[in-house]
Symmetry: C2
Subunit: 199 residues, 2 copies
Amino acid sequence: MSFFPSSLENLIEKFSALPGIGKKSAQRLAFYVLSQSEEYAASFAKAIIDAKLNVQTCKSCMNLTEGEYCRICTSDKRDKSTICVVSEPRDVLSFERGREYNGLYHVLHGTLSPMSNIGPDDIKISELISRVANGSIDEVIMAMNPDTEGEATAMYISRLLKPFEIKVSRLAYGIPVGSNLEFADDATLTRALEGRTEM
Amino acid sequence: MSFFPSSLENLIEKFSALPGIGKKSAQRLAFYVLSQSEEYAASFAKAIIDAKLNVQTCKSCMNLTEGEYCRICTSDKRDKSTICVVSEPRDVLSFERGREYNGLYHVLHGTLSPMSNIGPDDIKISELISRVANGSIDEVIMAMNPDTEGEATAMYISRLLKPFEIKVSRLAYGIPVGSNLEFADDATLTRALEGRTEM
């Protein structure tokens, strides 16, 4: 039985369809919206539609942008010979926060996952290969998440890049800076040992 | 620095203004919206506006409704001599789920809270007094949350109701059904002892 007025039930349903939002949270969010002004509701609604209509993927790196090409691809301060390949747009943000990396990106919008029926044609792999095929790229850095699917995706792409004879690298595994050896899992410790560097 | 396209930043901001939604969750929700169809975005936006425009408070009990009066106030199957006073619309849902209570409700839309500057005129107390003053009410049950503010609100209202010489009661305190004595706090145990009933 729907207990609340139908348009309230409908809004609760929309909120609970969002990832990580349960029924109780959805109710709280809907009540919050009702407690705000009509202007608030209008601007929230507009924000959803505007984001969906205005945001598209950069024609080169597939990152989210409002123009044809993103700010990073069009910047003349970036090293255009290096591409860092990431799974999601939010991963670009992680690298940009670090201010260390100055090359370009390529956003796959997913990782290969046979379990979820996501194959090479479902993510932006062919677009990456085209960029490399156009020349002027010296290095491709694999920066997928360090899990099974991320590793499989990195392996798959690096094999496709073989013929171009460019440098293909991946992020180092190891102990996170500032963490404690005591809490490092075995797999991470093993990788940190394997990847040890001379001092 | 805003890193994402401005309309995406704007949507993230809207989500993170919701109660209990942090910056990271807001990003995840916004990315989810972008990953869905334009129809999805349109129907989500419409749900927000519709809920805000259509849902109002019942002219009698102040519960949320789409008509002038709510389904409970207009039902001819309810006992119209008893009012259960609750703080929030969601509390009505808790009672209705139990199917035990068959009277009417009154939703205060808040509790008295000097700390948050919420006084008697900020919640729907005068509306409750008017209902009682109109006669035909035999009992008012206080069902606020069992915290300091809930208790203070119940005390304040019961004093206002004194002149009407009707029964004013409040929910019993005690051990929750199905719980374990071991985990009951002292205050609850004391109240459970005080309120013990003969078997």
